[in-house]
Symmetry: C2
Subunit: 519 residues, 2 copies
């Protein structure tokens, strides 16, 4: 991947008025115009130098003498519908168009990006802006001429952040969304609430955050949520929010003790994976209705077509020790699994009623006997080996296995008194490990349509705004590349860390499956 | 360790003019006066709340009604010499007095700290300020009454930072020195230069940094060095600077190619542990004299009695492939080891000539045939198992073994193409792992006086100012506690992670070997 020093160089003209205009739409959507402005601003202000000895200064005279590009033209393919980037970004999974073609000639003539959607144009802009470096007042590329014809292998390329174990400000989230868009990540899975805190202020249920947020500053108002969703959308990112149920809900007992079993029960290890214990009383019709209302009220704040009801780590001991739950089970003659199924029917039907596709963690199909629509999307987290079992049940899959994609692993345990202090999911998941993930391992050809993609995840028991950037990046770009590129490069060779490494260390970043002209 | 809610509470009087005056010195040293001011400011401004549900708000009325302390008196023991904290902090290892007694009554009468040095008073102040929390406008403690009689088990309790692989600003270093002083770390081992960059601007040798720093902003001027040394000193921290020789010096070839063998030689893996290759021509008398001058000029900027000449990972292939070195060896009839010994004699004698005690990495006594004064201090890094061999050669030891104390391990490898991406010193060294280190393992009683202490270390190939705080803290406090407390608590029981954990999660921090009155 090392570029010969004799490779063609090309400069960007200092004040190229024509940079990035849309050729064939009389009224370009505002968010596309803003995206073009951001790209222009990055090119002008970023001053990114090559990560090589001397920062590229040995190329100084070649750069000064290079031909200058004066304009970039974005074009929608004939007949394309002109929608905003945000409207394209929240279309149902599998129906979004993210492909684009980019051509950057070396003779100074016009560069072009073409696509059949504004979302595709935006992905092309993102690639375009990553071709350039800065040196002595000039913005230059080593990549001209280049033609890239690019499209993602998988429709779901995500990143999950937990905002319950620690709170992250709106600006922390926006900074993360910026970085996600640069890696063409298109799904923000917002694990918004958990047993530790409830930071979402939901219309009709504001008391949950008032009593369940860490403090008054650790709350996302409905305006904040709108702001985040919009910031994501114009960057091509759909926000899949999760309210985890019926487990991981201890904090709801602060405002609604009547709906929570085994709240703060001790020893916590008997009733939960980590303190504090507490789960929604899934056997109670009142609790199921309360939950359905909470979820639909939340879902209405998010334009995404998907919504996650969680469903991981339901602790049976908690319900066995809860007199109210036992009374209902006895009175109705239901088993625990039947009651759980009833709870899920109530919440999922409510969400489906407002047009949302439910998303659940793997236990809902692998450990419990739940009747779920096969439209439901299932997230695999416990082990990469479990994807095959989910596929065998004909559910769509998002890969998020802890053995490849958990960003919090390997930094030590925070509970218990293990003298080694290792974490349950040791070791640290290096970018290399994540990069070797095979989305189709043990998935038959006839099931391959079920694999929507995947994501890396940050659980935040041991992370906060102080280490967010350094624990997430550059590692989370690893799965973004896996699910954009797919299992193999365009020449049929498998992806490998040796050819990927230069992308992380300063050689211009070009997607591996892009068609690159011979130079 | 959970404190009963009925424990005695005590408040600090809001504007207690008398807080922290020195009773029995007519002219307290300025740095002690400043330390007292800092403690007062922390107590007033930190607003540290307990890390418990509700942040301690359930204690609100008890705190409001608690007795108030109105003064803290610091006293030097009769007959003590009054020196500045900094002057005490740079005394030879083993001759500093850091012990102190602290008494905080619960009836509102005067608190006291006594010691036989200003350094001891400063350690007591540090403990004192860590007894307090904030709630509703009040600063309060759960620890009164308390009597602490405390002193360190080992004279060397350090932290090493590499400022060559990545540069850290003066303010990054000061922030780190603050945190070190809070953990009573008393040695900053500054691994200032390496093959990747040379950020120290040394009088008489400024061209090395001019050509060898990453850029003009990544240089520590002599004023910066003075500032850092002084900032450390008044916080009870001695700065042990290291100029690593003769290996890890590739960058010197930028300004002095005549002194560097195998500079930038490829493939680097044949000549160095990581790129770029390059080592000082240790067989050349001119290079040995150049090096001795560089080291003594550097040493004069640092008032410490110790100076590290490095000495790790000398690569023999590099010298075998270097025609100049081979020519000298042939002309003089020396072996490689004899030449290396001659180089070390030249540099160490120059340092000893200006009153410095040399410090070296373990290879200098375990792998090479070097004649070293037994005053030399040897740092163990390759394995904790190697300490015994160093002791057997009757050298003083600083423990810094990679298997317990390397803070960079377990975050993946940055060179090579290993698909797992694991680091050579996996796994991540948790605070628990570091905390279980036994300084006297395999050291006989007759050798125990050789163990000076130890430190955690951060090599910065994969760290920068962006993740400095999160990769260092709280882990580096783990060895600080090991070497302050020693192998066992005062009651003779071994230290263990279960009793230490609360110190990290919000229960007031009291040194384990402090004598604490029954409450």
């Amino acid at each position: 991947m090392a570029l010969p020093s004799s490779s063609q160089k090309l400069r960007i003209k200092e004040s190229s008025k024509g940079m990035g205009y849309l050729a064939n739409a009389s009224h370009p959507p505002n968010d596309l115009r803003e995206a073009i402005s951001r790209t222009s601003a990055y090119l002008k202000n970023d001053k990114l130098q090559r990560l090589v000895v001397g920062r590229g200064s040995s190329d100084s005279s070649a750069v000064q003498q290079a031909k200058q590009i004066s304009s970039l033209v974005l074009s929608l393919e004939h007949g394309s519908t002109v929608r905003s980037i945000m409207d394209e970004a929240i279309l149902p999974l599998g129906t979004r168009s993210e492909e684009y073609s980019l051509h950057l000639p070396s003779d100074g003539s016009t560069a072009t990006i073409t696509a059949n959607s504004t979302l595709g144009l935006f992905r092309g802009l993102t690639s375009f802006e990553q071709l350039w470096f800065y040196l002595d007042g000039q913005v230059y590329t080593l990549e001209a001429p280049i033609t890239i014809a690019d499209s993602p292998a998988f429709p779901y390329r995500g990143f999950m952040l937990d905002t319950s174990r620690n709170f992250f400000s709106v600006s922390d989230l926006k900074r993360t969304l910026d970085a996600m868009s640069w890696a063409k990540i298109n799904q923000f899975h917002w694990h918004s609430t958990d047993s530790q805190s409830f930071p979402l202020s939901i219309p009709g249920f504001t008391e949950i955050a008032t009593k369940g947020a860490y403090d008054g500053t650790a709350i996302y108002s409905d305006k904040d949520i709108e702001d985040i969703v919009s910031y994501a959308g114009v960057r091509g990112i759909d926000v899949l929010v999760e309210i985890d149920t019926p487990g991981h809900t201890a904090i709801i007992s602060e405002s609604h003790p009547e709906h929570v079993a085994c709240a703060q029960a001790t020893p916590w290890a008997d009733f939960a994976g980590e303190p504090p214990a507490g789960q929604l009383r899934m056997a109670s019709p009142a609790t199921a209705n309360f939950t359905a209302s909470l979820l639909t009220s939340t879902a209405k704040l998010f334009p995404s077509k998907t919504f996650s009801t969680g469903g991981d780590e339901v602790n049976i001991n908690c319900y066995q020790a809860d007199p109210e739950t036992q009374q209902i089970l006895n009175a109705t003659g239901q088993t625990m699994e039947q009651a759980l199924n009833g709870f899920m029917q109530t919440t999922h039907q409510a969400l489906e009623g407002i047009g949302k596709t439910p998303v659940v963690w793997e236990e809902m199909v692998l450990e419990h006997n739940i009747t779920l629509s096969n439209e439901t999307i299932v997230m695999v987290w416990i082990s990469s080996a479990n994807a095959a079992a989910v596929a065998a049940k004909n559910f769509r899959i998002v890969h998020g296995p802890s053995d490849f994609f958990y960003l919090d692993c390997g930094a030590g345990e925070w509970i218990g008194a293990d003298p080694t202090g290792n974490s349950w999911c040791d070791p640290f998941k290096t970018w290399q490990k994540s990069y070797t993930f095979d989305p189709m391992a043990n998935i038959s050809a006839s099931q391959s349509h079920l694999v929507l993609g995947g994501q890396q995840l940050l659980w935040t028991e041991q992370s906060s705004p102080t280490n967010l950037d350094s624990i997430v990046w550059p590692r989370a770009a690893s799965s973004a590349e896996v699910f954009w590129t797919g299992p193999t490069l365009q020449d049929g060779s498998p992806r490998n860390v040796e050819t990927a490494l230069p992308s992380l260390t300063g050689v211009p970043f070009v997607r591996d499956n892009a068609m690159v002209e011979q130079r």
